[in-house]
Amino acid sequence: MSSRLQEIFFSSAKKFGERIPLEEISGHSISYSELEKSVREKSAFLSANKIGKGCRVAVLAPKSIDTISTLFAILECGAAYIPIDAEIPDERLQQILGNLNPHALIGSQLGARNPENSFNLPNGKSVATFFTAENHSEDLAYILYTSGSTGAPKGVCITHGNALAFINWCAKTFPVNENDRFSSIAPLHFDLSVFDLYVSLGCGATGVLFDEATTKNARMMGELLCKKDISVCYATPSLLSLVLNFGKIESRDFSKMRLVLFAGEVFPVQHLHALMKLWDNTTFYNLYGPTETNVCSHYRIPVPIDESQSEPYPIGKICLHLEGKITGEGELLIAGENVTIGYWQRIDLNSKAFVQYEGKTFYKTGDRIEENAKGDLIFRGRIDRMIKKRGYRIEPEEVEATLLRHADVLEAAVIEGKDADGYSLIKAFLSLRKNSEGNLISIKQHCLELLPAYMIPEKIIFMESLPKTSSGKVDLKELAKIK
């Protein structure tokens, strides 16, 4: 069994040489042996530039065959990769790079962000800039940055062991094989992509890479999931609902789609059932788990469809290689091989996020969970204010802090709202300074300069002043009543 993540790819390359591991939407593809050659050349180039064990390499590039061969090359030379959303605002990028202190920055579209002393990597358009930084943990495979409640993003550190435990569990649980065609929909900085890349290449299948512009166009997604003969699809419920409602999928043949996994948020039952009726050849699973644990529970949606089911389906049972506990307050704790070793250079957060119990380290998920009579777990919301939207996690405090930086904003409060289908959205309540010209467009533009797109409030409601509790704090419960 592999002990390093990249060995999953190299062992498949040996076995499946001329098969196709990756294909872009344009149709451009590469064979396992060509990809291996590219990875080895890039890795040698990085090693020659002193990238090795304990190094961290930030990758700021859209999803492509070139980018993925760069990720494998970073692992192969012993370093960890950090995929960063190429679209994020400059200030946020600087926050991440400031916390990360990387040894190199690689990207294909660095543009104005591309500092001096940059080098072209072999086999593609990627450009690397090298820095000097201290080396740390040698076992890190990648770091994924997520929203942090203190106003700065935090990096979840995933070791080779963490990632392999998850991937090996997937390979045992889901019947995938070399004839499958996986969709890779999630961006690389989002942990759903770990399944798309490593589980598909591990079994010799083909991963079809969907770029970000395509994934935002549900009509295109409906067309391409069919035309690209996708058989295994891991996506958020909101993406699947959009494909159902806007993808014109009724008139297409989806008989090849045999496995759909969804995670990241609750799937409204009426949408899930409607999709199951159209894709009646498909097995559906609800997966659950924060980035810190990757998937930690799973539930196979029963067939035939139970029309009496009106509540969302359970998140199921804890994976056998992990351990779950529910505290007196109803919070789910998770221990085991998948669980992150902590946040990069954030000792303050690490002491709050983990708890020792019976000699084991448990991650505190912050999710309120109940167990039903069948022993399946049910998600009941958060114990804190965090919003889960389209699979992303948003700390309302971080959005509030950004809104308050707008010159016209006097007070700001952010809560979770729901759209007509039951999906989460971000609702911001604002009061403005006297005589200010603040308006929705200027507030949105302000957010766009400082926040990633998924953190920008969908609804902005202006008020004379925000309601307060008797202790003078903003009354969030009162705001929740406002439509």
């Binding site: 935002k216 166009n217 549900a218 009509r219 295109m220 308006n439 929705l440 467009i441 949105k444 920008i456």
Partner: protein, 108 residues
């Protein structure tokens, strides 16, 4: 009676040419439909006068991809046009002006 119905719904090129004014899209109507949709779905029903016909909507993220899709479905239903998947993008939908031009060109 039957002949009249056939005439009105005829899609033969000759009939279209002869009755171009019957089938041509009214740009003002498209403009007011788009504007009403945006005010309702983004601006909470209140027109504060800041939404101009050339205000960037997608590139500025004022309109997210979900609202864009809902708007496209709404326009398709109302004006009996159909957009190809690749046409649902920023080039055609970024401003009210672009939408008016694009939707009216689909109706020709």
């Amino acid at each position: 009676m039957r002949e009249t119905i056939l005439f009105l719904y005829s899609h033969t090129p000759i009939a279209n040419k002869q009755n171009a004014n019957l089938f041509a899209m009214n740009k003002d109507e498209i403009r007011s439909t788009v504007r009403a949709f945006l005010i309702d779905n983004i601006f909470g029903g209140k027109d504060d006068g800041k939404l101009q016909d050339d205000t960037a909507l997608i590139s500025s993220r004022i309109m997210d991809s979900i609202i864009a899709l809902k708007l496209v479905s709404h326009l398709e239903d109302k004006f009996h046009v159909e957009l190809e998947a690749h046409e649902v993008d920023q080039d055609n939908l970024d401003t009210i002006n672009k939408m008016v031009e694009f939707i009216s060109s689909k109706g020709k």
